[in-house]
Symmetry: C2
Subunit: 244 residues, 2 copies
C-alpha cells in the first residue's frame, strides 16, 4: 500500500479535461490553454505527452473506444447463443448494440458522459466523422449488421444499412444531450433520462426495421405502393434570389 490514492497523473488529467471541453465546443472551440488550465498543468505538457492538439483529440477519442467494443461484442455473442438455433429478435440486437453505451452514459460518471457527447460531435462532423468513427467502430458495426441480416434474411441489404443509419443518428443525438427536448416538451421529457431512452430506442428501431422490410417487400411485388404522393405545392420552391 505504498501509493494509495495517488494524484491522477498529468497525462490523464489532460485527457479528462480535453474530453470535457472538446465534447462541449468541438475540436476548434477549445484551445490547449483552456485544456491545460482546466487540468491544472502546463501547456507544454500536451506536446510532451501527445505531440500536438490533433493527436490529443484522437487520444481522447480512442481511450474509451475499445472498452465499449469489447463489451458490445460480448453482448452480441450472448444473445446469439441464447437465441440458438434461431436468431435474436431485432429488439435484442438493437439492445445489445445500444445498452453498453446508454448504460455508461447514464451511470459511468462525468467522463463517460462527456465521451458520448464527443461521439455525437464526431459522428455528425463531415471533417472527423468518416475517418474517426470508421476506424474505431466499423468493425463492430459490421458484425451487428451481419446479425441483423441473419434476422431479416429476405430483406435487401440496403434496407439494413439505412435502418442502421437512422439508428445511429437517433442514438448520437441522444448522446449530445442538448436539452432541446426538455424545452420542447415543457419538461415532460428530459434528455438526460437515458433509462427512458433505453426502454424505447430498441422497440422504436425494431419497428422501423420491420416497416422498411414491409416497404421493400411491397415494392418488389410488382409496382407496389410507392412513395406518398407529393403535395403539388411542395414543388414550388421559392429560391433565394440569385441561387441556382
Amino acid at each position: 500500500m505504498t501509493r494509495k490514492s495517488v494524484a491522477r497523473p498529468g497525462r490523464e488529467r489532460i485527457l479528462d479535461a480535453a474530453e470535457r471541453l472538446f465534447s462541449r465546443r468541438g475540436f476548434y472551440g477549445v484551445s490547449l490553454r483552456d485544456i491545460t488550465e482546466a487540468a491544472g498543468v502546463d501547456v507544454a505538457l500536451v506536446g510532451y505527452h501527445f505531440g500536438g492538439k490533433r493527436a490529443l483529440f484522437k487520444a481522447v477519442f480512442e481511450r474509451r473506444a475499445e472498452v465499449l467494443n469489447r463489451e458490445r461484442l460480448e453482448l452480441l455473442n450472448d444473445i446469439r447463443l441464447a437465441a440458438r438455433p434461431g436468431t435474436p429478435s431485432l429488439e435484442a440486437i438493437v439492445h445489445a448494440f445500444t445498452y453498453p453505451l446508454l448504460e455508461r452514459s447514464a451511470r459511468g460518471g462525468a467522463g463517460w458522459k462527456s465521451y458520448f457527447a464527443l461521439i455525437a460531435y464526431v459522428n455528425n462532423s463531415p471533417e472527423f466523422g468518416p475517418e474517426m468513427m470508421s476506424e474505431h467502430f466499423d468493425a463492430l458495426v459490421a458484425k451487428f449488421i451481419a446479425v441483423l441480416r441473419e434476422s431479416l434474411p429476405d430483406v435487401p441489404p440496403q434496407e439494413i444499412y439505412w435502418g442502421y443509419q437512422f439508428l445511429t443518428g437517433a442514438l448520437t443525438l441522444t448522446f449530445a444531450e442538448t436539452g432541446r427536448i426538455d424545452k420542447l416538451s415543457g419538461g415532460l421529457v428530459r434528455a438526460a433520462d437515458l433509462d427512458s431512452v433505453l426502454e424505447r430506442l430498441a422497440p422504436y428501431v425494431a419497428g422501423g426495421f420491420r416497416a422498411l422490410a414491409a416497404r421493400a417487400a411491397a415494392a418488389s411485388a410488382g409496382r407496389g405502393p410507392k412513395r406518398p404522393a407529393r403535395a403539388a405545392k411542395a414543388a414550388q420552391m421559392k429560391a433565394i434570389p440569385g441561387e441556382g
Copy 2:
C-alpha cells in the same frame, strides 16, 4: 431590365461562403479571413454588414429557416385537410415534416446542401443547439407534435416526444452526409442519395411510433413486458482506473 444578372452583392457572398465553411468545420473551425477570402471581399465587411462573427453565424442560420417553416406548415395543413374528417397517417405527418428539407437538400443547390449540414452541426451542439434550434423551429415542431398526438390519441405524450427526438436525430445525421454509411456498406448505400431517405424515413419513423405506442399500452396494462433482461455481464463495467 436595367440590371439583369447583377453581380451578387458582398453581403450575400459572405453569407454563402460562411454557410459553406461553417457547415464543414463548425463555428470555431472557420476564421473570418477564411470566409471573406472565399467570398472575395475584405475582412472588414463582416463587421460592417453583420457586426461580428457570431452575428454572422446567426444570420446564416436564420436566412433559410423561415422559407422552410412556411412550406412545412403549408404541407401540414394540406394533409390535415385531405384527411378530414379523420387524421393524417403517421407516414403522411412525418413525410410533411421531412419532405421540404430532404427535397431542398437533394435538389435545392449547393447552398441548401450546406445549410442542412449546418443544421446537423447546430442540432447536435450543446452550445448552439438548444438556443438556435428552439428559436427558429420549435413553434413549427410543436404544431407537428400536436398533429401526431391527434393521430395517436391513446398514446402518452412522452412517447411522442421521444419518437420526435429519434426522428430529428436520424434526420440530422442524414443531413450531415459524412459518407460514413457509404464506406460501411461498401458503396451499396450512398449518404447523398436523399431520394432513398425520402422513401424510407417516413415508414421507419411511423413504425417506430407504433412500436412506442404498443410498448406504452403493454406497460400500462398492469406490469406488462418491461425492458429486455439485461445481460448480467454488462453490469461488470471495468472502469478506467481512477474514475468514479
